[in-house]
C-alpha cells in the first residue's frame, strides 16, 4: 500500500513537472518542498476533500459526487490542476479566498455545501500546504457542472445575501485557558474536520445553528447524532481511548460506523495521527451541552413495547442479544447508545428498513452488515421495534410513530 502511494506520489510529481501549464502559474520557491507537500496531503486528508471531490472508483479530486441538499443538487468540482476543467489556472490566492470567504476565482460565489463556513478558520500555513499538495496532483480532464440547483437557487449572487446573514469570515481563535491539545482538537473539529457540517443542526436557511453546535442533525435520511459529551444522546459515556478507536478503526466497544461516517473514517480519520485523534477526543469530550432531563422509559406492558419486543425477539435478538449488548466489534450495543436514544430516530429507523454495512479498516477488516428488514416489516412493526429498542434496558426516548417510519421509507425510496 505504502509503496503504491509513493509510486503515485512520484508519478504525480513527474506529471506536474512535465506539464508546461504549471510554469505559467506564479510559483513560490518552496512549492516542491517534500515536507510542505506531505503536510498538504495531510491537510487534505483531515479535511476529507476527496469525499466530495471524487466519485467512487474515479480519479481522486477529479470531481463528480452529487450532493443532495434541501435546495437541490450540487456537484463537487474538479480540483486537479487541469487548466480547462480543474483549477489549473488558479492562484493560491484563489484557493485562499475560496476556503475563507466562499468566493472562488473570478469572484464566483460558492454554495455552503462546500464547508467554507468551517474552512474559513484554517490557518495560512495549512492553506499554503494544501495548495502545494493540490498542485502535485495529476491533472485530470473532467468537466463538472457544479451548479445544478433549480431557479432561483442557481443564481450564485444569492449567496452574497446568504453570507451576509449567516457567515462571518474568521480565523480559528485558540482558547488560552485550554491546553494546546484541546486547541488542536478544536481546530481539527471546527476547521479542517468540519464535523459540524453533519453534526450541527441547521437553521431554516441551511446555516449552522451555532447555539446547538455538534448536538446532532438530520441529513439525507441519516441522523448524525450528537458528538458532545451528553451522556445519553451523545458520546459522554465514551472514554477518549474509545473515541479514538472509533475514529481510527471505525469500531469500538459499543459501535461500528456506517453510512456517511464510514466514508469519513475510511478517507479521513483512519489516516490521521494518534496525536490528532486524541486532540479531537480531548476537545469533544470536554463539550458539555445544556443538561436535558431524560424522558421516562415506556412501561414494559405498553402495547407498543409488547409488539416491539416480539419483533425484536424474532429479527434482532440473534445478533444484538436479549440484553441489547450486541457482540463486541461485530454487532453494536443498543443499550446506552446515543444514536438509539437520539430525539430524532431517523438513523435507527433507516438501519432497520435498509440495513447498512459497517466500515472496514485495516485494523478492523470485518465490515459486518446489518441486513435490510424493511421488506418484511411494515411501518407499524418498525415503529414498534424502534420504540422498544429506545425504551429497553437502560434506554429512554420518545416513542416512534408509523408515520415517521413511512417518511424515512419514502426518503430512502427517493434516494434509490
Amino acid at each position: 500500500m505504502t509503496r503504491n502511494r509513493l509510486a503515485i506520489a512520484a508519478a504525480a510529481l513527474l506529471v506536474s513537472a512535465a506539464v508546461p501549464a504549471i510554469l505559467a502559474v506564479p510559483a513560490r520557491a518552496d512549492d516542491q518542498d517534500f515536507s510542505l507537500i506531505e503536510r498538504g496531503r495531510y491537510v487534505a486528508t483531515a479535511a476529507d476533500c476527496v469525499a466530495c471531490h471524487s466519485v467512487p472508483g474515479g480519479k481522486p479530486y477529479a470531481g463528480g459526487t452529487a450532493l443532495q441538499t434541501p435546495f437541490g443538487t450540487l456537484v463537487a468540482p474538479n480540483i486537479t490542476p487541469d487548466r480547462e476543467t480543474g483549477i489549473g489556472n488558479w492562484t493560491e490566492e484563489d484557493l485562499r479566498s475560496t476556503l475563507r470567504d466562499g468566493i472562488g476565482r473570478g469572484g464566483k460565489r460558492l454554495y455552503p455545501a462546500m464547508p467554507y463556513p468551517a474552512y474559513t478558520r484554517m490557518t495560512d500555513d495549512d492553506i499554503h500546504a494544501l495548495w502545494a499538495y493540490l498542485r502535485t496532483l495529476p491533472p485530470v480532464s473532467n468537466a463538472v457542472e457544479a451548479n445544478q440547483l433549480p431557479f432561483p437557487f442557481n443564481i450564485r449572487l444569492l449567496m452574497a445575501g446568504w453570507n451576509l446573514l449567516n457567515f462571518e469570515p474568521e480565523r480559528f481563535k485558540p482558547d488560552p485557558q485550554k491546553s494546546a491539545e484541546w486547541n488542536r482538537g478544536a481546530y481539527l473539529v471546527q476547521a479542517l474536520g468540519h464535523c459540524g457540517t453533519c453534526h450541527t443542526p441547521k437553521t431554516m436557511l441551511g446555516a449552522d445553528d451555532t447555539d446547538r453546535a455538534l448536538q446532532g442533525a438530520n441529513l439525507q435520511a441519516w441522523y448524525a447524532p450528537s458528538i458532545t459529551s451528553d451522556s445519553r444522546q451523545g458520546i459522554g459515556g465514551w472514554t477518549a481511548d474509545q473515541l479514538v478507536a472509533y475514529l481510527k478503526t471505525g469500531v469500538n466497544h459499543q459501535s461500528l460506523a456506517s453510512g456517511p461516517m464510514a466514508e469519513e473514517i475510511q478517507n479521513s480519520s483512519s489516516k490521521m495521527t494518534d496525536a490528532d485523534l486524541n486532540a479531537i477526543a480531548t476537545y469533544l469530550l470536554d463539550r458539555k451541552p445544556p443538561e436535558r432531563t431524560a424522558p421516562t422509559a415506556l412501561a414494559a406492558d405498553d402495547a407498543r413495547m409488547k409488539t416491539g419486543g416480539a419483533v425484536y425477539t424474532d429479527s434482532c435478538m440473534a445478533c444484538h442479544g436479549g440484553d441489547g449488548k450486541g457482540q463486541t466489534f461485530l454487532f453494536p450495543t443498543l443499550a446506552d447508545s446515543g444514536v438509539v436514544q437520539a430525539d430524532d430516530p431517523t438513523t435507527l429507523i433507516r438501519l432497520v428498513l435498509d440495513g447498512s454495512r459497517a466500515v472496514a479498516t485495516g485494523a478492523r477488516p470485518t465490515g459486518p452488515a446489518m441486513p435490510p428488514l424493511g421488506w418484511r416489516l411494515n411501518d407499524a412493526d418498525v415503529a414498534a421495534v424502534v420504540t422498544y429498542i429506545r425504551n429497553s434496558w437502560s434506554n429512554a426516548a420518545p416513542p416512534v410513530g408509523a408515520d415517521e417510519v413511512a417518511k424515512v421509507r419514502k426518503a430512502l425510496a427517493q434516494a434509490d
Partner: protein
C-alpha cells in the same frame, strides 16, 4: 481463440476455503495473485440476510448455494461393469458453487485426523500384520505425520475460531477432551459450545458405560472471537440452519467470515467471479504449466499466463481439471497402474434414532447447530481392537442436534403408518422426544473405486464429464454394521423406548443425501507410483502445479474432512513460501 491476458505470479482456481487461504498466504509473500471462481460472489452482508437465510425451500430443497448440474455434473455407476449415467440433480453429495465454495454450506465440525490416519497402511501392518489388509484395499500412508501436520491444524483452528476442549495437550491428557486425539500444542481458541439436553443425556449415559465423551470441535463459535487476521466472528445462536445454508450471524467459519475481509483489501489480489477454468495449459514438454484457459459467462475465452497454478476447486473438479489437462497418469483399474483418479473414497454415514417417552422427554430439536453436541471416539479408527472383527476402520460417534428443518425433518418410529392421520399422530407424538446419534465413519480405498473421464457424456462445452465408479466395499459395510450396533447400545441405555438403526447398507446410491465428504483421486504420498502429488501437494509430473483439497486424501478417516483440508492448505502455502519460491522445482525427488 482465447485472448491472452497479462501474466500473473499465481493463478488460484476456485475461491473456497483452500483457495482463500492459499491466496492470502501467497499475497503476504508479495506475489501477484488472481483467483478464478466458477460461481458468483457471495457475502454474508448481501447474500445471507437473517430474514431469509433459514429458508429451507430455497436452500435445502432447491439448493441455491450448490452447483447447477446444467453447468457441470458427474456420471455415476457402482462398478466398472455398468454404464454410468449423469446425475441430473445432486443428491448423495452437494458440490458448492461460488465464492466460499462448499465451505459456505458446511456443518462446521472440525476434526484433526488421528496420528494413525496419516500412516494407515503402516499402522495396520504393524498392529495386525500385512494379511489383515484385504488385497483389494488400497489404503496407504500420506507421506506426512501427525506431528508434521500439528502446526497447520493449529493455524486453521485459530483462523476459524474452533470451539472445543483439548484432550491431549503436549502429551498430557486433559479431562473432558478427546482422549484419542494426537497431542496438540495448545488449547482450542474458544471454549466448547453449550450443550442442549439431548447431547447432555448422551454424554452422561456414555460416561456411565465407561466411554469418554467430549464436546464436538465446532467452527460454529461459542463466543465472539477475533482471529489472527483481525476478522471478528459472532457467537452461534443455535438457530439450526447450518448444513446447506449460509450463516447470517457471522458465527460459522467460512472463507467469508475468516479470510476474505482481509484478502479482498489486498492490492496484489484480484478475484474474477463467474469464470470457469477449462484447463491448465502446459508447455510442449508437458512438464511445466504456463497458465490456464478460462471462459466467462459470455462465452469469451481467456488465457491467463501464470508461473504457478494452484487447483483449489471442489475435489471432483480438481481431479477432473488434471485429467482434462493431462497432468499425471490416469488410473487403470484393470492393471492397477496409473494414479490419477485412484483411491476415490467417500464416508460411511450411519445413524441410530431413539424414540423416547413423550411424557418424560423433550429434546426440543429446534435448538441446534451443525457442529454442536457431544461425541465419543471409542469406535473410531483403530481405537478398538479390530483383531477378531474382520474389518478395519470405524467412525466418530456423536449426538449432534443439527436443528429441525420444518420440511425435511419428519421422524416417526419404526412401524408407524407412512401417510394419513396415523402418520400425523406418530409424528406429533414423537417430534420432540426423538433423538438421533450418528456415526460418521471411515471409507477405505478399494481397487474398484475410482474417477475417470466419461466416454459418453460431456458438459455444455463438450468436455467429458467426470465419471464416478464407486460402491461401498465389504470392509466398510461390516464396519458400519458393527459401529451402528455399538451406538444403538448407548441409545438404548439412554432410555429410548424404540430404536431405529440405520447402518449404511447395500450399494451406494446417488439419490439420498449422505455427505459431501467425497475424497481422493489425486492421493498425496511419498511414492509417485501410488500418488499424484507429493506431501506438499505438488504434482509429481508438473512441479508448478499444486492442488489443495480433499482430493489429496489417500482414503477417508472416521472424521469429517474440513479440518484436515484447511491444515493441508496452510502446509502447502508454507512449502510454497518457504521452499518452492526460493528454488522453483520439485520439492521432493522421488
Amino acid at each position: 481463440m482465447a485472448r491472452k491476458l497479462p501474466r500473473k505470479d499465481v493463478v488460484v482456481i476456485g475461491l473456497g476455503w483452500t483457495g482463500s487461504i492459499i491466496a492470502n498466504e501467497l499475497c503476504d509473500e508479495g506475489l501477484d495473485v488472481v483467483a478464478l471462481e466458477r460461481g458468483p460472489w457471495r457475502d454474508t452482508a448481501t447474500d445471507f440476510n437473517i430474514g431469509y437465510a433459514p429458508d429451507e425451500l430455497r436452500y435445502n430443497v432447491r439448493q441455491e448455494l450448490m452447483l447447477r448440474p446444467a453447468q457441470e455434473t458427474v456420471t455415476a455407476r457402482n462398478n466398472a461393469g455398468q454404464t454410468a449415467l449423469p446425475m441430473r440433480q445432486f443428491g448423495s453429495f452437494h458440490p458448492g458453487n461460488g465464492v466460499g465454495g462448499a465451505g459456505v454450506h458446511w456443518a462446521g465440525i472440525t476434526w484433526r485426523f488421528s496420528p494413525a490416519d496419516f500412516r494407515l497402511r503402516s499402522h495396520y501392518t504393524e498392529r495386525y500384520g500385512a494379511q489383515s489388509i484385504p488385497e483389494d484395499m488400497t489404503i496407504q500412508d500420506w507421506g506426512v505425520t501427525y506431528e508434521d501436520m500439528e502446526p497447520y491444524y493449529d493455524k486453521f483452528e485459530y483462523l476459524a475460531g474452533v470451539s472445543g476442549k483439548a484432550g491431549n495437550l503436549n502429551g498430557r491428557m486433559q479431562e473432558g477432551g478427546n482422549p484419542f486425539e494426537g497431542a496438540r500444542a495448545r488449547e482450542y481458541p474458544n471454549p466448547p459450545m453449550m450443550q442442549t439436553y439431548g447431547p447432555t443425556l448422551f454424554a452422561e449415559t456414555a460416561a456411565n458405560m465407561g466411554y469418554k465423551p467430549f464436546p464436538i470441535p465446532s467452527s460454529l463459535l461459542s463466543r465472539t472471537y477475533t482471529n489472527p487476521l483481525g476478522v471478528t466472528m459472532g457467537q452461534c445462536t443455535f438457530c439450526g440452519f447450518c448444513t446447506n445454508y449460509g450463516c447470517a450471524n457471522y458465527s460459522k467459519a467460512s472463507a467469508q467470515t475468516t479470510v476474505l475481509p482481509v484478502l479482498m483489501r489486498k492490492s496484489n489480489f484480484e478475484l474474477r467471479t463467474l469464470c470457469e477454468v477449462l484447463k491448465v495449459n502446459l508447455d510442449p514438454s508437458g512438464r511445466k504449466a504456463t497458465g490456464v484457459t478460462y471462459i466467462d459467462t459470455s462465452g469469451n475465452e481467456y488465457e491467463q499466463p501464470a508461473d504457478l497454478v494452484v487447483l483449489c476447486a471442489f475435489m471432483l473438479d480438481n481431479v477432473r481439471l488434471m485429467l482434462l489437462s493431462g497432468i499425471g497418469t490416469p488410473y487403470d483399474h484393470q492393471t492397477g497402474k496409473g494414479t490419477l483418479g485412484r483411491n476415490f473414497c467417500y464416508q460411511m454415514a450411519n445413524q441410530v434414532v431413539g424414540f423416547f417417552d413423550p411424557a418424560k422427554y423433550n429434546f426440543n430439536n429446534f435448538i441446534g447447530g451443525g457442529a454442536t453436541g457431544m461425541a465419543i471416539d471409542e469406535f473410531n479408527n483403530d481405537n478398538f481392537d479390530h483383531g477378531p472383527l474382520g474389518f478395519l476402520g470405524g467412525g466418530s460417534t456423536r449426538c449432534a442436534p443439527i436443528g429441525a428443518e420444518p420440511i425435511s425433518r419428519r421422524p416417526t418410529p419404526p412401524g408407524s403408518p407412512t401417510w394419513g392421520s396415523g402418520w400425523k399422530k406418530a409424528m406429533r407424538d414423537s417430534y420432540l422426544s426423538n433423538l438421533s446419534v450418528g456415526c460418521e465413519a471411515s471409507s477405505y480405498a478399494n481397487r474398484g473405486n475410482f474417477l475417470d473421464l466419461d466416454p459418453t457424456y460431456t458438459d455444455r462445452l463438450g468436455r467429458p464429464l467426470m465419471r464416478i465408479t464407486f460402491d461401498f466395499p465389504e470392509n466398510d459395510l461390516k464396519m458400519s454394521a458393527y459401529v451402528t450396533k455399538k451406538v444403538a447400545e448407548i441409545v438404548r441405555a439412554m432410555g429410548a423406548q424404540q430404536i431405529d438403526e440405520n447402518p449404511r447398507t447395500g450399494h451406494w446410491s446417488v439419490v439420498p443425501y449422505q455427505s459431501t465428504h467425497v475424497v481422493g483421486g489425486t492421493a498425496m504420498g511419498m511414492d509417485p507410483s501410488t500418488s499424484v502429488v507429493n506431501p506438499y501437494l505438488q504434482s509429481w509430473d508438473v512441479p508448478n502445479v499444486f492442488t489443495v483439497g480433499a482430493n489429496v486424501f489417500p482414503q477417508n478417516s472416521g472424521y469429517n474432512p474440513t479440518g484436515t483440508v484447511g491444515a493441508l492448505a496452510f502446509r502447502a502455502a508454507d512449502a510454497i513460501r518457504s521452499r518452492y519460491l526460493k528454488s522453483p522445482g520439485p520439492l521432493v525427488h522421488a
